[in-house]
């Protein structure tokens, strides 16, 4: 077992308990091939009205984390440990019956694929109304009115008529709006959005992200948005948590992580992205190799086989010793798990300003 990492980036807050406080969350799946450590010691905090972006590639454990927040690993073979404290209550220890009362009402989720998340056999209106009636003692009529109101709120034209439609009669963007309407029908305090816009076109994606932001402002919910797209988190998130191989490797405010990234993996993600502006003559700078297997995670730093800078750390520490999350000197809440010293990072960046992550690419080769 590893040493406990600081649960929240502030490191200074025993004061009022945060709204959502995840501590050392682990989700392991026993399989024939061995134990899959999908999530291995993840901690973060989130206040009401704020948005946390969890970023990572496929297999980094971001979706499994989101399912754990909803308690959806209960009753499966998954081994969940750690704490998920929502307003002081630990969701990991909560029995399924009590979790069910919270799910949909206090904690709600927007799934990636609305076509498979909506039931094809029932009308959109009735599904939203049902989500409301599960948690509120109201008549069918009242629930239906509430559903129509929610559809209107998320910008579905002619909501009275469209509430009687089936999911297949909706377009992709409208289905995602209907999903959002359903997840917000009970005014949840915590909204989890797992790749909410990945299946959508850019113009519709922009609508949906704006919509989630608007509704969040209105209802004051806390939002966890899970995505592989750094552009999306830059747009909507206040804090960013970068995951790799089931663990946190960088955590801080959106501005800190994107403008002054501290982990070679984050550098790699930012450098490998093509941009809409700037020089196109320059080649993209991909991260070599591919994401690791979660059963046989590389020893030491899980990223070391793909890291171009492990030579900067003496004695091959990267291959032997797992780096703990360290607070960046001079920052209140910017954490990164890397053995590189601040001086080495400075040197890798070629003495350029901390804002210039593009410069690191050139000096590194």
């Amino acid at each position: 077992m590893s040493v406990q990492t600081p649960p929240h980036p502030a490191g200074l807050a025993p004061a009022p308990a945060p709204f959502l406080d995840v501590r050392d969350l682990r989700v392991h799946f026993p399989t024939e091939d061995g134990l899959v450590r999908s999530v291995d010691g993840v901690s973060f905090t989130l206040e009401k009205g704020r948005t946390l972006g969890i970023v990572g590639e496929s297999g980094s454990g971001k979706s499994v984390t989101s399912l754990a927040l909803l308690g959806l690993h209960k009753g499966t073979r998954a081994q969940v440990s750690g704490e998920i404290r929502l307003e002081g209550r630990d969701l990991v220890a909560l029995p399924e019956a009590e979790m069910r009362a919270l799910r949909g009402r206090t904690v709600s989720m927007i799934f990636q694929d609305p076509l498979s998340a909506l039931h094809p056999f029932f009308t959109v209106g009735s599904q939203i109304a049902e989500a409301y009636r599960v948690h509120h003692k109201v008549s069918k009529k009242e629930a239906r009115d509430r559903a129509v109101e929610m559809l209107k709120r998320v910008g579905i034209p002619q909501p009275e008529r469209r509430a009687g439609d089936y999911p297949h009669q909706f377009s992709g963007g409208m289905r995602q709006r209907a999903m959002i309407a359903m997840s917000l029908v009970c005014d949840p305090a915590l909204l989890i959005a797992d790749e909410p816009t990945t299946a959508l076109d850019v113009t519709v994606q922009a609508q949906i992200l704006d919509l989630i932001g608007d509704l969040q402002e209105e209802f004051g919910s806390a939002v966890v948005i899970i995505t592989h797209d750094l552009g999306v988190v830059s747009d909507v998130a206040d804090d960013i948590l970068v995951m790799y191989g089931g663990r946190r490797i960088e955590y801080g405010s959106t501005r800190d992580v994107l403008k002054n990234p501290q982990h070679p993996y984050t550098w790699g993600l930012l450098r490998s992205m093509p941009h809409l502006t700037g020089d196109v003559g320059e080649r993209l700078d991909p991260i070599p190799g591919s994401p690791p297997s979660l059963i046989h995670l590389p020893g030491g730093c899980a990223f070391h086989p793909r890291c171009a800078y492990k030579g900067w750390v003496p004695d091959g520490r990267c291959t032997r010793e797992r780096p703990e999350l360290r607070l960046l000197s001079g920052s209140a809440r910017h954490l990164a798990a890397c053995h590189l010293t601040d001086e080495a990072k400075q040197e890798i960046r070629g003495g350029t300003g901390p804002d210039d992550h593009a410069a690191t690419a050139r000096t590194a080769r």
């Binding site: 590639e57 963007g173 994606q205 490998s272 809409l276």
Partner: protein, 393 residues
Amino acid sequence: MTAPDEAVTAPNAAVTAPDESEQAVSTTQPATGRPTDRTTDRTTDRPAGESLLQVRGLQKHFALRQGIVFQRRIGAVRAVDGIDFSVGPGESLGLVGESGCGKSTTGRLITRLLEPTGGSVVFDGEDITHRPPARMREARRNLQMIFQDPYSSLNPRHTVGTIIETPMRLNGINPPQGHRKRVQELLETVGLSPEHYNRYPDEFSGGQRQRIGIARALALRPKLIVADEPVSALDVSIQAQVVNLLQDLQREFGIAFVFIAHDLAVVRHFSERVAVMYLGKIVEIAGRESLYTRPRHPYTHALLSAVPEADPDATERRERIRLAGDVPSPIDPPSGCRFRTRCWKAKDRCATEEPPLARVAGSPAGHLTACHFPEEPTVAARGEDIVLDPALG
């Protein structure tokens, strides 16, 4: 990448792969167009010079039928509805647009996986629009495709060797060094190991599978590759590896590309010219510099403004254009300009008169826009946010 031997040199001796310096020059379009708009100049998307691929008035309508025994035609999905463009040797044309705009159908029409309803496709000087399938094999030697899904586009029961070899065997090509050796060379070219020859596709990751698909497309040394969303199924870090690989191949072997993607940033990186499609039509086509810095069609402008950038400063600076709703149905597209139902500039004229794809005043040569009321040719002076979505106050 390994250095290719003679067997893998450019397919066409006349085609020289554009090196990086040339590339940079070719993308910088003159900022000011010529003062006189001559008709010849106004409607060609590419400066003079021979074309490898000429597409004229290309159409594909999928018939909608009703009834079981006596099927009646009750309408048609106008997936591609009259598009023109051309691709020069060694050039890369990007085709972007939202789902349902007809970009993938266009790719399949060019490679003749689909039979066009109208128009013509001229490839390498020969009209292949209605060439029977048996005779298409000949043309496909020079015209290959890379598919989006690296899982369903490789036969799981064939070894990597068989998969890459098959196009050569079908075309009766016997490389001097033998099939096996040639396949192993190709595997090295795309960054895999020759030992992978006897493995099966399920032993590979998504990015590696896409490399196998690329090796298969390269096997016949084609002049043109149609790549349909080749990187959209891949993780961000892997995506860049594959884009770089394709770029190397394009430059090294002088292969022309039609690069179909919905990701505008990837297309900007890969293609010298870009065509934007909307509901089966090309609404704007231009050199990349011109298109990305001076979009003239409101739709292009809206698309660019919707792409999130991983830079908090850019996010704050950016002007927002939020279109209402989704793309209308291609079964019954809006009259006149197809974008008018989501356009904030639409006037009566847009409903009655379809705007031609032509050069509008202020655009450089080769920048064509299908709009009656084009945007100002600059993005430097950004306007106010345009939000049409009723849910966004």
